[in-house]
């Protein structure tokens, strides 16, 4: 592909990525939000995080099938306990990485 092709492709991708990130902020930050919307939006973060995380812990990717007992899940349990006790994200990430690395040597 030529420079122009790449530029066209990446600009297009950039635009369709930017618009959903920008428009709701632009639109919602300057009006009074109804209480039901605030209540609903307050549940969105935990829902998005769980939706991102659950397949990583419980599902094999290729092909997609349920797999209880993945190393990711076994490591996640002590990592979550550590996260709840320590409340430190940096330390939690390091503990998770260490356990996953050690687990990988035995699994």
């Amino acid at each position: 592909m030529s420079f122009t092709d790449y530029l066209l492709l990446f600009s297009g991708m950039g635009l369709v990525t930017y618009l959903p990130r920008w428009f709701p902020l632009f639109h919602l930050a300057h009006r009074r939000l109804p209480q039901w919307l605030i209540d609903w939006l307050s549940l969105i973060p935990v829902a998005i995080l769980s939706a991102l995380l659950a397949p990583i812990l419980f599902v094999d990717t290729q092909p997609r099938c349920l797999h209880i007992g993945k190393l990711e899940l076994l490591v996640a349990i002590p990592t979550l306990i550590f996260a709840l006790k320590s409340r430190s994200m940096g330390a939690t990430v390091l503990v998770g990485m260490l356990l996953y690395w050690v687990g990988g040597l035995f699994f």
Binding site: F10, W22, P24, A29, L52, A54, A76, M89
Partner: protein
């Protein structure tokens, strides 16, 4: 319009920019740590797919979206057209509209130029870090902006490194593959504040798994988060009415 009109959440205007930057950096280093292996992998794959180094950098700067960039790369190698890659990117990244909406609650009345600059850096990871901080502690928009843009720098640097040297680094070094998962676990932990949030998380996780197994593509993220949050919202309303 008055700036920073969020009355019960005073922005720390007395503190210096270096202070905001330091707080932002302290909050964003786990993101940068997590981006590194992913960015290296992306750069290495892009290099194998024949993308020049400048194209990798240009893509990371203009798009800044991990999963969409991987998908675009896969589509490029199978010879997909520009329009279909752009449309796929749009679908994959629509989920950020939900994150942007949640962040709007904490950026009420903020200047539109700031919002335009801030929006560029909204990713799954920066959103998760910022929303937890906004909710749990004194967190201002400048710290949040620093998180967004430091993460972006790390992503661009990591993908560039990957396209230069990625082929020489073995996969899975030091458990790096788990950095992002570890971050999500810690963030889920910080969001579990009451019964409704725990229930919402469980529902969203269950829907996500089922959706992921049954429907190809990435729609499970939007489907499960909207589904889980909506169910959680109605359960919260019903229990509140009963008491």
């Amino acid at each position: 319009m008055q700036q920073d009109s969020h009355s019960n959440r005073p922005f720390s205007d007395h503190t210096k920019p270096e202070h905001w930057f330091r707080q932002g950096a302290a909050a964003s280093w786990p993101i940068c740590l997590g981006y590194f292996p992913v960015g290296l992998a992306f750069g290495a794959l892009a290099q194998q797919a024949g993308l020049p180094v400048w194209a990798v950098g240009l893509m990371s700067i203009l798009v800044f979206a991990g999963s969409a960039q991987f998908i675009a790369l896969a589509m490029l190698t199978t010879g997909a057209g520009i329009v279909s890659i752009i449309l796929t990117t749009m679908v994959v990244n629509l989920r950020h509209a939900l994150m942007s909406s949640s962040l709007a609650v904490y950026l009420q009345g903020v200047n539109r130029w700031f919002l335009a600059l801030f929006a560029y850096g909204i990713t799954d990871e920066s959103f998760a870090v910022n929303i937890s901080r906004f909710r749990n502690e004194d967190w201002g928009r400048w710290q949040a902006l620093a998180v967004n843009h430091l993460s972006n720098c790390a992503w661009v640097a990591a993908t560039l490194c990957g396209s230069l040297i990625g082929q020489f680094i073995p996969q899975g070094t030091l458990g790096m593959d788990y950095a992002m998962t570890g971050m999500f676990i810690s963030l889920v932990g910080s969001q579990l504040q009451n019964r409704i949030s725990i229930l919402t998380g469980l529902l969203a996780g269950l829907i996500s798994i089922a959706w992921y197994l049954l429907i190809p593509g990435d729609s499970y993220i939007i489907g499960a988060s909207v589904g889980g949050a909506t169910m959680g919202y109605f359960i919260k309303r019903r229990t509140r009415n009963r008491i």
